[in-house]
């Protein structure tokens, strides 16, 4: 068949999206449906001294006004962070209480205090505005770097100085010795700007309680419906797991922000039980800016030592990470095990030490956003490498080459064991595609027009396919990170694959079908992927960190092994052959060296009629598997960005962007390249456009698309995407994952290109025209003064 692994198969799921027949959560409308509107804190930090709902309760259409005291009174548990991090002094992290509806205190603008349930959305919103909440305002703490300062406002009583944990990884003494012995030390201070994920579909939840069955159904915008069910049940006591069905239908993008279980889903479920109504809530974009978990927000000082030959001797990193007002579900893992473990990059570093302090502030909670820790690590390493090359007068590509890891498996000083790679190969391929050799001429030509040209590199590595359950368990994770699958051959010979991975733009309904089509040599049309419903799919851990390929597909592949074994046994029995001689080809099951064959419909029918099966064989043809990965996978590559800058205005144009990536085996290059384009688009957003900004009082200043700059089509170039694939030895298909690489690799390449053009390192993201212009001016003044 031509539509197996490696084929650019057009997506099967597109028709419903291009015709407007996709079914997203907000498209769900139940009989007897009511609407929820939340009463949110207008203050960043305040004591709640009273809630007067009497006016709201009398308004048209209002069914109920509910508050936090009632919620906790009904035994609904606090929202928790699911990854326990231990500080370097062996104390546990200081997790503050987070109730889905605040009871005594609000800690960020947007913190929910009460909810109105009404017959229509309009009535609910009008009544929410009529709920009178009395606040006793408190000073707010907002800034990451100064949140631990003496005198700063305290967000949670059990986190003195707003410190959540003070954690370290690596050998500090060896690192200090390496820095001390270095012939050159490059020092850098960098801020990784806070971002808002902004999937285009706002979050939404529709909860329905069935009193007769005491059963709940929740439609929700989730990347991991089974995890949502587990957490809602086991930790928040909203409903027992066997009485809760979670459906994540079509989901309009996630980028991490739809991993977590938010207050609104909890409240909708609880309110549906209280009111005996189906309760729907859909976020406005303004609410999304306030309440969807943000990403990044690191402040870092780092030092890298080099010997006289330009070889790295040690890398020392101190980071403060802002986790916002409450600890979101995976917030603690992002600036620790998803960040510090990648700080070796593509380079042989004899010693690394990383110290991370996480802080509470009166801001929206911060958690994983596309890349989750890896973009922060990559940005730091790659800006340091570029700066070091400039300081030492070396070609930045050659400095990287000199330090590349060349032999695998390679044990880094920070836990990770890289299984394979071809770092010089990625660089070669990207340099050729980007025509680096012709850059000097292009720069001279641009200069003749009064423009500044710059070229920047990023040779990135990241980790996907999280992760061996035992390993993450030993590091504090509250869950196992396997995936499950069921492969069901129907009596007519078609196949349904039930997967715990969730597709919200990734195209699994096509690429997963390609893997099964390839495995059994069947047309891709005969295979249907089922996902996103806890009543249909047995179990799953969901989609984030590009785990659907390395982990989800591996589970499917493992289930296919079992199906294949049974198919061969049935065929061998029916065709009087040895199972060892049976193989799949051209949509049939054949016997080697003979003209004997059976169609899949004949195998399926035989399995389900069970009239003539091998002795002791169970009827049916459906097999399940759980797959627990043996290692992370390590996508890597080289991004090269070329920019042209107008020094009069500071406007940066990306004139060429080249990516040479290693994602291992490519299931569908069309889809993979689309993931890279989107990732780079978000990377350009971080590097040049986006930044969540709070006032000193904790008011969100970038709360809409009028204030927060989303990348638009005319902000971006077309991208040149090349592949240099080294299949991963750590999973059966050799896949590595491609969802985050674009967003990880691109920001440093862009910033290195801009700083190359303007001749100064003193530039932080986002490189807006204003920031670039100011950097150019400051640099000119500095040079004039010298």
């Amino acid at each position: 068949m031509t539509d197996g692994i490696g084929a650019r198969v057009k997506r099967k799921e597109d028709k419903r999206y291009t015709t407007g027949s996709g079914k997203y959560t907000d498209d769900v409308r139940n009989e007897n449906q009511a609407y929820a509107a939340f009463v949110r804190s207008p203050h960043a930090h305040a004591n709640v001294t009273g809630i007067d709902a009497s006016a709201a309760e009398g308004m048209p259409g209002v069914v109920a006004v509910l508050n936090g005291a009632e919620l906790t009174g009904d035994g609904i548990g606090n929202i928790i962070c699911g990854w326990a991090i231990t500080s370097k002094d062996d104390t546990p992290m200081n997790m503050g209480a987070w109730s889905a509806l605040a009871t005594e205190k609000v800690r960020y603008v947007g913190d929910a205090v009460a909810v109105v349930i009404a017959d229509s959305m309009e009535e609910a919103r009008n009544a929410a505005e009529a709920v009178e909440v009395s606040y006793d305002e408190l000073p707010a703490v907002v800034d990451t770097a100064t949140a631990m300062d003496a005198g700063a406002a305290q967000v949670h009583e059990n986190a003195p100085n707003n410190l959540i944990f003070d954690w370290e990884l690596g050998d500090e003494a060896a690192t200090d010795a390496g820095i001390a012995a270095a012939s050159h030390v490059t020092k850098i201070d960098l801020t990784n700007n806070r971002l808002s994920p902004n999937p285009m579909e706002p979050r939404s939840a529709v909860a329905t309680f069935d009193p007769a069955e005491e059963h709940y159904t929740l439609y929700t915008t989730s990347q991991n419906p089974h995890v949502a069910r587990l957490v809602l049940s086991a930790f928040y006591q909203v409903a027992p797991e066997h009485k809760l069905r979670v459906i994540a239908p079509d989901v309009g993008g996630g980028f991490g922000s739809k991993i977590y279980i938010y207050p609104e889903e909890i409240v909708c479920l609880w309110a549906s039980m209280k009111t005996k109504r189906s309760v729907k809530w859909t976020s406005t974009r303004s609410e999304a800016f306030l309440t969807d978990a943000h990403g990044r927000d690191h402040v870092t000082h780092a030092e890298m030592g080099f010997d006289a030959d330009g070889k790295i001797t040690a890398f020392k990193i101190d980071t403060i990470a802002n986790l916002g007002a409450y600890m979101s579900l995976f917030s603690s893992a992002v600036p620790t095990y998803l960040y510090a473990t990648l700080l070796a990059g593509q380079y042989h570093m004899p010693a690394i030490h990383c110290n991370v302090k996480t802080v509470y502030t009166n801001t929206t909670p911060v958690d994983a956003y596309r890349g989750a820790g890896r973009p922060e690590a990559c940005y730091l390493i790659e800006r340091v490498m570029e700066k070091a090359a400039r300081e030492m007068g070396m070609d930045p590509a050659e400095l990287r080459r000199k330090n590349f890891i060349l032999e695998f498996p390679y044990q880094t000083p920070v836990i990770m064991n890289y299984d394979c790679g071809d770092f010089p190969g990625h660089l070669d391929k990207a340099q050729a595609a980007a025509d680096v050799a012709g850059f000097a001429a292009r720069k001279a030509e641009a200069a003749s027009r009064g423009k500044l040209r710059g070229l920047g590199y990023s040779t990135y590595i990241e980790a996907c396919g999280i992760a061996p359950s035992q390993a993450v368990g030993s590091l504090g994770a509250g869950v196992g990170l396997w995936e499950s699958a069921e492969v069901r051959v129907n009596p007519v010979g078609t196949i349904e694959v039930l997967t715990g991975s969730h597709s919200h733009g990734q195209g699994h309904e096509t690429s997963f079908a390609q893997v099964v089509a390839d495995r059994f040599d069947l047309p891709v049309e005969n295979i249907q992927i089922v996902h996103g419903d806890t009543d249909k799919v047995q179990f799953g851990m969901g989609t984030y960190g590009s785990r659907s390929g390395p982990v989800g597909l591996s589970a499917i592949f493992k289930a296919c092994d079992k199906v294949e074994l049974k198919v061969k046994q049935i065929a061998a029995h029916l065709l009087d052959a040895s199972a060892d001689d049976v193989f799949c080809e051209g949509g049939e099951v054949k016997v080697k060296g003979t003209n004997k064959s059976l169609g899949w419909h004949e195998i399926g029918l035989a399995a389900y009629t069970a009239h003539n099966l091998p002795e002791d064989m169970e009827p049916g043809l459906k097999e399940g598997a759980f797959y627990d990965p043996v290692n992370f996978s390590f996508p890597a590559g080289c991004h090269i960005c070329e920019v042209e800058i107008d020094p009069e205005t500071g406007v940066v144009e990306i004139v060429k962007f080249t990516a040479a990536d290693d994602f291992g085996t490519l299931i569908n290059p069309l889809i993979v390249e689309g993931q890279v384009h989107g990732g780079i688009g978000q990377g350009v957003g971080q590097a040049m456009l986006e930044q969540v900004i709070y006032g000193d009082d904790g008011q969100l200043l970038t709360g809409s698309y009028m204030d927060y700059t989303m990348p638009r089509a005319d902000n971006l170039p077309s991208f040149d995407v090349e592949h240099n694939s080294v299949p991963s030895p750590s999973n059966p298909l050799g896949v590595k994952g491609c969802g985050e690489a674009g967003a990880i690799g691109s920001p440093p390449a862009i910033m290195n290109a801009i700083t190359d053009a303007i001749g100064t390192e003193n530039l932080e993201m986002p490189a807006t025209p204003s920031n670039v212009w100011q950097a150019i001016q400051a640099n000119q003044i500095k040079h004039a003064a010298e």
């Binding site: 057009k10 997506r11 799921e13 597109d14 028709k15 419903r16 999206y17 291009t18 015709t19 407007g20 027949s21 996709g22 079914k23 997203y24 907000d26 498209d27 409308r29 902004n198 999937p199 285009m200 579909e201 706002p202 079509d250 989901v251 309009g252 993008g253 980028f255 406005t284 974009r285 303004s286 919200h504 733009g505 990734q506 195209g507 069309l670 889809i671 390249e673 689309g674 993931q675 384009h677 989107g678 990732g679 780079i680 688009g681 978000q682 350009v684 809409s704 698309y705 009028m706 989303m710 990348p711 638009r712 089509a713 005319d714 971006l716 077309s718 991208f719 674009g742």
Partner: protein, 156 residues
Amino acid sequence: MSKISLTVNGRSISKEVSDNTLLVEFIRENLRLTGTHVGCDTSQCGACTVHVDGKSIKSCTMLAVEADGSQITTIEGIANGELHPMQQAFNDNHGLQCGFCTPGMIMAGIDMVNRYKASNKPLDEAAIRGELEGNICRCTGYHNIVRSIADASTKM
């Protein structure tokens, strides 16, 4: 409440609506045509783009009563037995991922191609990118959306 009469996807409709009902609410909630999406509350994202009397309009910026007497076409109304060339081009060129902005992109793309053809202007990559300023996509980096619209423009 006002009574409005209009044509939606070729079907004549008369309905009572509140005077403050947005056209997009009328389309989604009253007519249950849920292919038109709401992605923001500041008329920036374009997920709600429909055609009103042949022109591309953000249906969140217009009241339903203002559409009285109009011909409305939504994403559900453009395929005529087979996919519209713009819909087909988005599939052929992988111009969509999560699909949420896609209906608005397709409606904006059709209008864009029609306008450029009518005025005989070339619709090159820079023009497409400039014309897409009112439609936000978070998944694709626009690369394949631009290619999809360019491809469809040769087939419309």
